[in-house]
C-alpha cells in the first residue's frame, strides 16, 4: 500500500506549497492523536509505533486536561508503544514493532488492534504495512494507519483510522441493505469535549424517528459488531461540516452505499426539527412518525424554555448581546446557528481553528454566510492563538461585556475584556465533563443553563 496522504496536497510537495505558520497555544494535536479514535471504539486497543512521549502527550491532553473525560478501556496509559529509541532510528523499527505486537496479544484483551505510526517510523521509512500484513495473514485482528505528526492533525488522523478499519478489517459485501439502519459519522471523539453525551443525544433523536443507529464510537456503541455491520446500513449520515465526508465517500466507492451530508449539528428545537425532517426524507420515513416525535420533544423543550423566558426577559442586571465562537467548525457552526436563530444574539467574531482541508473551506464559509435570513457571518480560519486573541480584542462587542465560546486559552483574555467564557472545545481544562451534552433538544437546555449560570455568577 502506498503511503496514505493524510493532508490533501495540491500536487507535488514544493517549497512554496505549504503556508502553515507557527502556532502559539495549540487547538488540536497531531495525527497520532487518533489513537484515541481507535480507543473510542469499545474493546479496541491502539498500538503506537513512535517515540517514548508521543502516546502520553496525545492522550493526557486530549482526554485529561480537556474536560477530564477519562481515556477509555484501551486508551491512555494502556496503549502499547515501541517507545522508539536511537536503535530504531538508526537500524529501523520493524522488528521492534513485530515484537510489540506479538507481546500485546499476550497482555491485552482486545477485539481489534490499530497500529498507528509516529514521526520516527514515517521518517526512517519502516515498512509497517508489511509487518501488520503478516499478522493479518495469521488471522490476528489488526490494522494500521500511518499517522506521523508531520502528516496532519488528529482530524485527518481520525479519517486515516476509520479508512484503515474499513479497508483492512471489513470484507467485501453484497447482501441486502437493512432499511432503517444508519451509520453516524459526526464529532471527533475526545477532541470534542462533549462528544459522548452529544453522540448519545443524536442517537436518541435518530432512534426517536425509528432509525437503528450504528453510533460507532463511545459508550453507546456496540463495538466491532457495529463496525462489521457498516456495509449493511441503508445509508451513512455525515453530521459535521467536513469530518467524515471522506469516510462516507470511501464507503460509497467500496459498497455503493449512499450518504447524507448535514453540516449543522443541531442544537435546540428549530435545528433539531429541521435535522430530523431532512434525515427522515432521505431515509424514506413517514412524515407522521417524524412529526409525532418532534411534537413530543418540543412539548418538553418549550415547557422548559417557557420557564427560562421569565429570566431571559426580566433579568435586571444585563445579559450579553454579542458573542464570539472560537473552535472547531462543527461546534462553531452549531453554536452560532443556535445563538443567532434561537436566542437572537449577535455574532461578533467566529474563528474556525481545526485547519479544515482547503477544499471544504468554501462550503463552511457558505454555511456561516447563510446563518439566518437576516444575519450573515464572515468566518475566519486561524490556528494561532496569539492572532486569535488579537482578533478578539479588535472585534466590536458593543458596549456590553462579551460572551466568548472558546477554550482555556481564552481565560485570561476574557478577564481582560471583563466578559464571560464558556469553554466548549479543546482544551477545556476548567470543565469536568461526564455525560453532559450541548446538542439536540436536551443538550440545548444544558447549554442554556451553562451559559447563564456563568453570566449570572459574575454579578454581585
Amino acid at each position: 500500500m502506498a503511503i496514505l496522504a493524510l493532508k490533501s496536497r495540491p500536487t507535488e510537495i514544493t517549497p512554496d506549497a505549504d503556508k502553515s505558520g507557527a502556532i502559539e497555544l495549540v487547538r488540536y494535536v497531531c495525527a497520532i492523536g487518533a489513537m484515541q479514535t481507535a480507543a473510542a471504539i469499545p474493546r479496541v486497543v491502539p498500538i503506537t509505533h513512535c517515540g517514548p512521549g508521543c502516546a502520553d502527550k496525545q492522550y493526557v491532553n486530549l482526554t485529561f486536561y480537556n474536560g477530564f473525560q477519562g481515556s477509555g478501556y484501551g486508551g491512555g496509559p494502556v496503549v502499547p508503544s515501541t517507545n522508539a529509541s536511537q536503535r530504531e532510528v538508526i537500524f529501523g523499527g520493524a522488528d521492534r514493532l513485530r515484537e510489540l505486537i506479538e507481546s500485546s496479544q499476550l497482555v491485552l484483551d482486545a477485539d481489534l488492534f490499530v497500529v498507528l505510526t509516529g514521526c520516527i517510523p514515517d521518517l526512517v521509512g519502516d515498512d509497517v504495512g508489511s509487518v501488520v500484513r503478516d499478522f493479518q495473514k495469521r488471522g490476528v485482528p489488526i490494522v494500521y494507519a500511518e499517522t506521523g505528526g508531520f502528516r496532519g492533525n488528529n482530524f485527518t488522523g481520525h479519517e486515516a483510522v476509520t479508512h484503515a478499519i474499513i479497508e483492512q478489517y471489513l470484507g467485501p459485501w453484497d447482501g441486502v441493505r437493512e432499511r432503517g439502519t444508519v451509520n453516524l459519522w459526526s464529532l471527533l471523539p475526545y477532541q470534542n469535549t462533549f462528544w459522548r453525551g452529544d453522540l448519545e443525544e443524536i442517537k436518541r433523536l435518530l432512534e426517536g424517528i425509528g432509525l437503528n443507529v450504528n453510533v460507532l464510537f463511545g459508550p453507546d456503541s456496540e463495538g466491532l459488531s457495529e463496525w462489521r455491520n457498516i456495509p449493511r446500513a441503508q445509508f451513512n449520515l455525515v453530521l459535521s461540516p467536513w469530518l467524515g465526508l471522506s469516510t462516507a465517500e470511501l464507503l460509497a466507492r467500496r459498497y455503493e452505499q449512499p450518504y447524507l451530508h448535514i453540516p449543522v449539528v443541531p442544537i435546540g428545537a428549530r435545528e433539531s426539527g429541521a435535522f430530523l425532517r431532512k434525515v427522515a426524507s432521505f431515509a424514506g420515513i413517514s412524515v407522521d412518525v417524524v412529526e409525532a416525535f418532534i411534537a413530543k420533544e418540543e412539548k418538553r423543550y418549550y415547557n422548559y424554555i417557557d420557564g427560562f423566558t421569565d429570566f431571559y426577559s426580566e433579568y435586571w442586571w444585563g445579559l450579553p448581546a454579542r458573542f464570539a465562537v472560537i473552535g472547531d467548525s462543527a461546534y462553531n457552526l452549531a453554536l452560532t446557528k443556535f445563538l443567532v436563530t434561537q436566542l437572537g444574539l449577535i455574532p461578533a467574531k467566529q474563528i474556525v481553528t481545526e485547519d479544515p482541508p482547503v477544499e471544504h473551506r468554501e462550503a463552511i464559509q457558505a454555511e456561516f454566510r447563510a446563518i439566518d435570513d437576516d444575519v450573515s457571518v464572515d468566518v475566519e480560519f486561524v490556528e494561532d492563538s496569539y492572532t486569535i486573541h488579537q482578533a478578539l480584542r479588535n472585534a466590536d462587542f458593543g458596549h456590553k461585556p462579551p460572551i466568548i465560546f472558546g477554550t482555556t486559552w481564552e481565560r485570561d483574555l476574557v478577564k481582560e475584556m471583563k466578559g464571560s467564557l464558556i469553554e466548549v472545545g479543546f482544551p477545556a481544562s476548567y470543565e469536568v465533563v461526564l455525560s453532559r451534552s450541548y446538542v439536540g433538544y436536551r443538550g440545548a437546555l444544558s447549554l442554556l443553563e451553562r451559559i447563564y449560570t456563568t453570566v449570572v455568577s459574575h454579578s454581585a
Binding site: A17, G53, N61, G149
Partner: protein, 502 residues
C-alpha cells in the same frame, strides 16, 4: 566525572550515571549493585553503569525528555519556549499550562497562560528542512512577548532531518540581543525522560547563568524545585538565608544569579543532580551533600549540612530543637490513626526514597515501591547524597523495590504482590488503575507537601483524607473490566515477559 558544558547537547543519564528503567528486587540489593555501593564510589570510573537491567518485549507509552523541557524551560516567567516540532509535541502545552497556572497561584504570583510556540513542522519541512520556520518563530516570540530569553526544544523529527538549530539560534541571538538557547531533547535519544531535566539545566548553565559574577550573595540559596508551595523560605529564613527558586516560576534574572549564590539544594536529587553539580564545578557554588530533607533523620542532617556550609550552626540547632518539639506531639496524635496501614510509593526515583522515609516515620508500613528509573549514582558521586542508602540505613529495607518506566500493565501485578491500603503517586496513568482495584491514591501535585518536619504531618493528614475515598473506589472496583488478559492478571512476576525474553 567532569560535566562537559562545552558541547551544546547534554550527555544522557545512561551515559553519565548508568541509569536503568527495569529492575526488581529488594532495595538493599539495588543499593549494593549501584555505583554508590553504600558509600564507596571509587570504582565508578567515568562511566558509572553497574546495574543489570531487565528489558522486555512489551512496553506501554512512556514519557520523553522534551516533556521535561516543557515542564521546566516552559515555566520560566519571562521567557518563551519554542517547540521545533510537528504540532503533536505541542499537545503538552495544555497540561503544562494547567500546571503553570496552578503553580503561579500557589506561589501568589500573577496567573497567566504559558508562552509556548510550535513551529508546526509539516511534510514539506521534512523534505526541505525547518530552519526558516524556526527563525520566524523566534522573531514572533520576541515581537509578541519581549522575552528575556527564548528556549528552543528540539524534537524527534527535527533531530532526524538534521536541522541546524545551533546556527539559527546564534544568528537570532546576535539580532535580538537576548539568549536564544537550543535544548537538545529528542525523545529517542534517551530511554529515560529525566535526561530532559538535564538538557534544560545544561542550556541555562551555558547561556543564562552569569559566567563572571561581580558579587556574591552569601545568604542566597538556590533551591531546585518545580512549582511547589513556598515551604523553603520560612525554613531557610530561620537560618537567615534567602531562597532563589529555580527553574520553574523563576525569572531569567533569578536564573542568572545562581552563580552568585552561597549554595544549592533541591527537594529531589533526580531533578537537581545535574544543575547543582555543575554550579559547584563551574562557579564554586557549593552543593549541599546530605540526605534529602525528609523525615527527622533526613531533615536534621540536611539542615546541619546547610548550616555547616553557610556558618549558621547555632541557628540551625535552635530551629531543629523547636521543630522537633512542635511536630512530635502532632505526630503522636497521628500515629495511632495510621497504625496498621500499608502504603505504596510510585514516584520518581530519589523522591520515592524520601517519601518512604516519611511514611515509616509516621508509622505506616511500606513493603513495596515503584520508581520510574534508577540512577546508580548522582553527578556529585558523593556518597552523602546516596538517597537510597540513607533510606535503608535509617528506615530499613524495602522488600519489593521495583524500577519500571511507568508501565501500567506491571502495576497491576505490583499492587497484587503488596496489597497496599493507599498509594502515593506523581505522574499520570497509574492511579486510575489502582482506583479501579479499590485503592485510593494521594496525587502529589505539590512536590513540597511531604518535605521537612511539617511534611510528615501533612502527609499523615492527606492519608487520612484519602482513606475516606475508599468508599468511592471500592464501589467502582466491582463494576470495571480491565483491558488485560486473565493470564496476565494471574501472573505473579511483573517482569515475567522480560525474563522469558532474556
Amino acid at each position: 566525572m567532569v560535566l562537559n558544558l562545552k558541547t551544546s547537547s547534554v550527555e544522557t543519564r545512561e551515559q553519565r550515571l548508568g541509569t536503568i528503567i527495569g529492575w526488581d528486587g529488594t532495595a538493599s540489593k539495588l543499593a549494593d549493585e549501584s555505583a554508590f555501593s553504600r558509600g564507596d564510589c571509587s570504582g565508578c570510573g567515568t562511566k558509572a553503569r553497574r546495574v543489570c537491567e531487565l528489558e522486555g518485549p512489551f512496553t506501554q507509552g512512556s514519557v520523553c525528555s522534551e516533556q521535561m523541557v516543557e515542564c521546566q524551560a516552559g515555566n520560566i516567567r519571562d521567557a518563551v519556549l519554542i517547540q521545533h516540532s510537528p504540532i503533536g509535541c505541542g499537545a503538552g502545552q495544555v497540561i503544562y499550562n494547567s500546571i503553570y497556572r496552578n503553580g503561579l497561584a500557589m506561589r501568589g504570583l500573577p496567573v497567566q497562560n504559558i508562552r509556548f510556540i510550535s513551529t508546526n513542522l509539516r511534510e514539506r519541512d521534512m523534505v526541505y528542512g525547518g530552519a526558516e520556520k524556526l527563525a520566524e518563530a523566534i522573531r514572533l516570540a520576541v515581537e509578541r512577548h519581549q522575552p528575556k530569553a527564548v528556549f528552543i526544544a528540539t524534537s524527534c523529527a527535527s533531530g532526524i532531518i538534521g536541522d541546524d538549530i545551533e546556527s539559527v539560534a546564534r544568528t537570532a541571538e546576535s539580532e535580538f540581543g537576548i539568549p536564544i538557547i537550543p535544548l537538545h531533547c529528542e525523545g529517542f535519544k534517551s530511554k529515560h525522560w529525566s535526561t530532559g531535566f538535564d538538557a534544560t539545566q545544561h542550556g541555562i548553565l551555558r547561556q543564562i547563568v552569569r559566567r563572571n559574577p561581580e558579587k556574591r550573595q552569601d545568604d542566597l540559596i538556590n533551591v531546585i524545585n518545580l512549582w511547589g508551595t513556598d515551604v523553603f523560605s520560612p525554613m531557610l529564613g530561620e537560618l537567615g538565608l534567602r531562597v532563589n527558586y529555580v527553574v520553574d516560576m523563576a525569572t531569567v534574572e533569578e536564573l542568572a544569579q545562581m552563580s552568585e549564590a552561597r549554595a544549592t539544594v533541591s527537594f529531589c536529587y533526580t531533578l537537581g543532580t545535574y544543575l547543582a553539580t555543575a554550579l559547584e564545578q563551574e562557579f564554586g557554588v557549593e552543593q549541599i551533600k546530605a540526605p534529602q530533607p525528609y523525615g527527622f533523620a533526613g531533615t536534621d542532617a540536611w539542615l546541619r549540612e546547610l548550616a555547616r556550609v553557610t556558618g549558621r550552626g547555632a541557628q540551625a540547632e535552635d530551629y531543629i530543637a523547636r521543630e522537633h518539639a512542635r511536630v512530635k506531639p502532632l505526630l503522636d496524635e497521628l500515629r495511632p490513626k495510621l497504625k496498621g496501614l500499608k502504603g505504596y510509593v510510585a514516584t520518581g526515583s530519589a523522591y520515592s526514597h524520601g517519601l518512604i522515609g516519611v511514611l515509616r516515620e509516621i508509622g505506616v508500613e511500606v513493603d513495596g515501591s515503584l520508581v520510574f528509573h534508577h540512577d546508580p549514582v548522582y553527578d556529585s558521586e558523593d556518597p552523602r547524597q546516596d538517597s537510597l542508602g540513607h533510606l535503608i540505613e535509617n528506615y530499613g529495607d524495602v522488600r519489593h523495590f521495583t524500577v519500571g518506566n511507568r508501565q501500567q500493565y506491571q502495576f497491576y501485578n505490583l499492587l497484587q504482590r503488596v496489597k497496599p491500603d493507599f498509594i502515593i503517586i506523581r505522574h499520570n496513568g497509574l492511579a486510575p488503575l489502582a482506583a479501579r482495584l479499590g485503592i485510593p491514591a494521594i496525587p502529589l501535585g505539590d512536590e513540597h507537601h511531604a518535605l521537612g518536619y511539617q511534611g510528615m504531618v501533612n502527609l499523615g493528614e492527606s492519608i487520612l483524607a484519602a482513606l475516606q475515598h475508599r468508599k468511592f473506589h471500592k464501589d467502582i472496583a466491582k463494576r470495571v473490566s480491565l483491558p488485560y488478559k486473565q493470564s496476565w492478571l494471574a501472573q505473579k512476576d511483573p517482569f515475567a515477559l522480560a525474563r522469558a525474553a532474556s
